[in-house]
Structure formats: structure tokens, C-alpha cells
């Protein structure tokens, strides 16, 4: 991914392509709960709704910049170039998975593609990303670290500690607070003091006297712009920025939590299932970032209908191949569990 400042046609098409690849992938994961029962264990979390935010941010990424999100982590390595086959195989717990079946959906890692790993404990990876930025600074690599985390995570102490340290040490990190409006089943307005006061969550940046911006996370170009500015600041040695990227998670938090042998499955979105608020869900569904961006690109004639369809078909084929690959890959042998305890 070279840095491309102007949004030429290629760039816009690239963006749409990545957004579609994420969406198709996540829909396949969701379908797998029905089509391949038992293939996915534990807890899987999807990034549909986050596509514009992810791709918009990563549009400003340079070749060696690192990406460190939370456990809701499928979308990022897709953009970074990790083969979909390996991601799907990992989610299915297979031997040919990205992490050989050791990590699963919550713990994708692909250091070769600048994706060092993720944590399932809320907020903790914010510190890890900050540490990666320390490496970049000490080794003078010129890298920026893009750190993604949820609105819920912004209530965990480590968020505040990390931002203070990054600001004091002027570390090259861009903090993207993905306000997808829910932490699990809780609407962010029920647990965030800024939100309750009617303020944006980016106001938390004031606690560290760093720039804080709230952006429409359903618009990849808007996200790109603020991310570019934050990345420039980081590269210039001026330290971190906080971006609140506001969008909407389009699927439920994750598959239903059940005890075996009950099957895992994907429930309805919490807006409906918990709050009975169909209107809210419908409103945001109508702002689907993938649909919106497609409409914009076709309207602006960056893409013609056939071109868009070609992208979508290709993504669908790629994802289908990934599922096929994953299903064909064997489960790890039991005793492989003894590997990798110590390096």
C-alpha cells in the first residue's frame, strides 16, 4: 500500500474493493454458523459497518506502518494483504489457519503483514499498540501505528494511561476510537459521561492536550482526511491524536454465548433484540457504508455498474474459495497443543 495523496480513480476503486472484501468475508463468517455448524467455536465478532472506517484509515497507511486493533479483528488483515484463506481457516480452527488453529477469531496475528496481534481483553491492546510505536520511535523506522479500539474500551483505565504516555513520549501512534455505538449489549450513551452530557467521545483527548476529532465513520474519504492529518502529526514527531470514528455495528455483538453441546448461532442486532428499537437499526442500515460508497462512486462515474459488480463478484469468489480452503484444511493434531508454549 503506497501512500497516495490524491484520490485518483484507482485509489477510490481500491478503497471500494477492500470494503467489499471485508463485507463479503464477514457475511460468510456469519453464514458459516448456519452452513457449517460447529466450524466456529467460542466467540466471533464481525466488522460489518466498520468498512469505511477501517479502509478510510488505512488509506493513509504507508508500507511498513503497523495496524493493531482489538479482538474484532477480521477486517484489518484483509486490507493488509493477509490471504483470506488463512484468516478463514484460523476462524475455523484449522491447521492451515493464520495461527495454526491456536488463536481463532479473536486473536488473528500476521506480523509478516504488519499485524502483530490482538487481545481479547478490552482495552489492553491500546497499550500494545503504544509499545509498537515506542519501537518505531527508538529504532527510528518512520513507522506509524494505527491503533483501533471500541467505544467500550474507552472506559478502561489502560486507554487513559496509554494516551498520556504516548503524549508525554510523543509516540507515533494514531488512536482510532471506533464508536460503533455499542459495547456488547450496552448503548454507549448509557455508560459514557461525555455522551450523557451530549459531548463527542473525542473530547477525551483534552485529558492529554492532544488533538481529538470526531468523524463520520461511514464515509471513507472523511475518515481518510482526519487519519491523514493524524498520521502526519505522528510522522512529524509531534505525538498521538485521537479520532472518534462514528459508525454503526450492523450485526449483533457476536454469536450467542452458549455452553456445549448447544450450537452457536448469530442473533439479531441488540438494538432490536435488547432495546426493541427497530427504528434505530433501520436508520443506520440505510447508511450502510458499503452501499453508500458504491452509490457515490457510481454517481461520480468512478465506477460503472458493471465495474462495481465485477469487484463484488471477485470478492465473493475470493471468500468462497477461502471457505472451501478452510473446510478442506485438517484440524490440528491434538498433541500440537504442546507447541509454542515457550519461544
Amino acid at each position: 500500500m503506497k501512500k497516495k495523496k490524491e484520490f485518483g480513480k484507482d485509489r477510490l476503486v481500491w478503497m471500494y474493493t477492500q470494503m467489499v472484501r471485508i463485507r463479503e468475508f464477514e457475511e460468510a463468517v456469519k453464514r458459516a454458523f448456519i452452513e457449517h455448524p460447529g466450524a466456529i467455536r467460542g466467540h466471533a465478532h464481525l466488522g460489518d459497518g466498520a468498512e469505511a472506517s477501517i479502509v478510510g484509515t488505512l488509506s493513509t497507511r504507508r508500507d511498513t506502518d503497523l495496524v493493531m486493533p482489538s479482538y474484532r479483528c477480521h477486517g484489518y488483515p484483509i486490507v493488509l494483504g493477509t490471504p483470506l484463506r488463512k484468516i478463514m481457516a484460523e476462524i475455523f480452527g484449522r491447521k492451515d489457519g493464520l495461527c495454526k488453529g491456536f488463536g481463532g477469531s479473536m486473536h488473528l496475528a500476521d506480523p509478516a503483514h504488519h499485524f502483530p496481534g490482538t487481545s481479547g481483553i478490552i482495552g489492553q491492546s491500546i497499550a500494545h499498540a503504544t509499545g509498537a510505536a515506542l519501537t518505531a520511535q527508538v529504532k527510528k523506522t518512520g513507522q506509524v501505528v494505527f491503533c483501533f479500539f471500541g467505544d467500550g474500551a474507552a472506559k478502561q483505565g489502560v486507554f487513559f494511561e496509554s494516551l498520556n504516555m504516548a503524549a508525554v513520549w510523543k509516540l507515533p501512534v494514531v488512536y482510532v476510537l471506533e464508536n460503533n455505538q455499542y459495547q456488547a449489549y450496552t448503548h454507549f450513551s448509557l455508560e459514557d459521561a461525555n455522551a450523557i452530557a451530549g459531548d463527542p467521545l473525542s473530547k477525551k483527548a483534552e485529558a492529554f492536550s492532544i488533538p481529538g476529532t470526531t468523524v463520520d465513520g461511514t464515509d471513507p474519504l472523511a475518515v481518510y482526511k482526519v487519519a491523514e492529518k493524524a498520521a502526519e502529526r505522528a510522522r512529524a514527531g509531534k505525538g498521538p491524536s485521537l479520532i472518534e470514528s462514528k459508525f454503526y455495528r450492523l450485526s449483533a455483538h457476536g454469536n450467542v454465548i452458549t455452553v456445549p453441546p448447544l450450537p452457536t448461532q448469530f442473533p439479531e442486532h441488540e438494538a432490536v433484540a435488547v432495546y426493541g428499537n427497530k427504528a434505530e437499526f433501520a436508520k443506520w442500515k440505510s447508511k450502510d457504508p458499503v452501499v453508500k460508497f458504491r452509490a457515490r462512486l457510481t454517481k461520480d462515474r468512478v465506477l460503472i455498474e458493471a465495474g462495481a459488480k465485477r469487484i463484488e463478484d471477485a470478492a465473493r469468489a475470493e471468500v468462497k474459495d477461502a471457505v472451501k480452503f478452510a473446510l478442506a484444511s485438517p484440524l490440528p493434531a491434538p498433541e500440537e497443543a504442546l507447541h509454542y508454549v515457550y519461544a
Partner: protein, 326 residues
Amino acid sequence: MAREMMYGDAIAAAIIEEMQRDPNVVLYGQNMAMTERDPMLKKFGKDRVRLAPISETAEIGIGIGAAMTGLRPIVELWMSEFLLVAFDQVINEAPKFHYMSGGQVKVPVVLKAGFGFCAGWAGQHSNCIYHTMMGIPGLKVVVPSTPADAKGLMTAAIRDDNPVVYLHPYMLTLDKGEVPEGEYVVPLGVADIKRAGTDVTLVAVGWMVKKAVAAAERLAEEGISAEVVDPRTLAPLDVKTIVESVKKTGRLVLVDQAPRHSSAAAVIAGEVAEHGFEYLRAPVKMVTALDTSVPYSEPMENYILPNENKIIQAVKSVMAHEAVAA
């Protein structure tokens, strides 16, 4: 009077009964009581039942401060690993105030968390961390293995004037069993013999109790009589009941879902090596998880966990030992 209930419901029943009994009991945690339709909220009102943000250190710390000043909070933490971000509060704050104040202050807080969710939750959500808490003076640690114990121990935990970590194995959530109706208290610090036997003592904790009992049934078919002791509370630990069982059987196999050196099994084995040595006719044997993190993929996850076969094998090995010695 008793009726059949699921393990998870038995815990809830105890909480509801205690909240009805004592207005100082309050309950809060993440992802609960989100809407006014919530049944607990309806029953007890928004002062006593609350939604908390993802802030375990503040959640637990607030529970401690509230307990110091007259409430009896139950903090719903969901998974025991989430205690770890707040671990100072758990082992270095809550258990210390009574002592450090020379007895002036009490901290009756209950920290409730599920654990050991070995169902594909991988490295960070499937652990057993009781070993980190079972040796902290001032702290009590409860691990019920049946619906009845789940209710009786929750009631006792809420009424206890000390901080109590109430740990329930997720894998038992849907298990059914007879649960006494109305007030039911299982005292903290008293082990339970889940199955009587004469040849070998099996000490097991949480989910493993079920596996130990199942193994014992199979062993019975082969003429080996195994006694299954469930400590139920890891702190205080009822060493006496365990040693007495060993006195009777002369053999000890411990079953624990945690890796060896982070197991309650090792600590109990140590106690028996001191206080039950003269009764032992064979080496103590531990059946624990293997020394790895918990892997995601099912065959690997199964491989590292204790199971009936591993328990049976261990029992046979201690039985065989005696044959040699005799």
C-alpha cells in the same frame, strides 16, 4: 422442599432471595439492566441494580468502598479473567482493610465471575485463576460444583462479612440438579463428599467434580471404590475433611482444570504431603490441564484438559503402585 433447577438459575435465585431479605445488597455489572424491562431492575429499582461501564478496577473498587461504608455489593464480573485488570483491588485491597484497620472496617463484597470456558474461547477467556486468590489471607474463594451448592454458597457469600470471590465454572451453567427452595446456606470452608468410597480419594474442583464422579462410577464397575471430595471453598480450605478421606483410602488423586503449578491440586497435594503423609500408601497423583495456554481448536483444547480417561488411568496407577509395594 427442593426442585430441579439449572446451575445458573440457582445462583440467580440466591441473589434474588438475599436482595429481598436485605436492602443493603446491591448488584451491578456490565451489560445488565440496560432497559427498564429488565426483571431485576423492575424488582429492586435502579438504585440497587445498575449497569456499569467496562471499568473493572473502578467497579470492584467501588464495591469495596461501598462495602466499607454499609452496603453489601455483588459485582457481576462475567469472566474471571476480567478480574485481572483490577487485580490489586481483589487481592491487595479488599482482603486488607479489616486487618490493616485493626478490625475496625469490614468489606462484605461479593465478586462473581464465571471461569474455565473451554468451548473454543481460546487463550485469554478459558483460564482457571483460583490459585492466584486461594492463598490470600482475608479473602474467601468459592467454587460451587452443583446447582444446590451454587445457591447455598452464594447465600453464604452474600452474608459473609469478608470479601468473597464467587467463581462458577461456565461449563456447568446449564447443568440441572435438585435445589432446596427458600433459605439455603452452605457454610464457607466446609468440603463436601460428593461420592463415598474406600479405595482412593479424588479431590476435584468445579467442573472437574462432575468428571471425577463420572470416573468414579466407571471405576466402580471395575471394583475400585473412589471417594470424591469437593472442597467447594478453596479459601478457607477444608484440609481436615480431605485428610480424613485420605486416612480412610490411603490414596489421593487430584483433578484440576488448571495447569499443574497454577492448580489448587498442587496446594492440596502439598497439604496432604504434610498432614496426611502417614496415611498415604502410594504417591499422590495430579490430573491437571497440561502446561500450555488454552488453544482455540477443539482437538488441541480437548487434548490439554483433564478427562474421565485420564482420571481413571491415574487412579489405576496409584492402585497399581500399592500392588508393587505390598
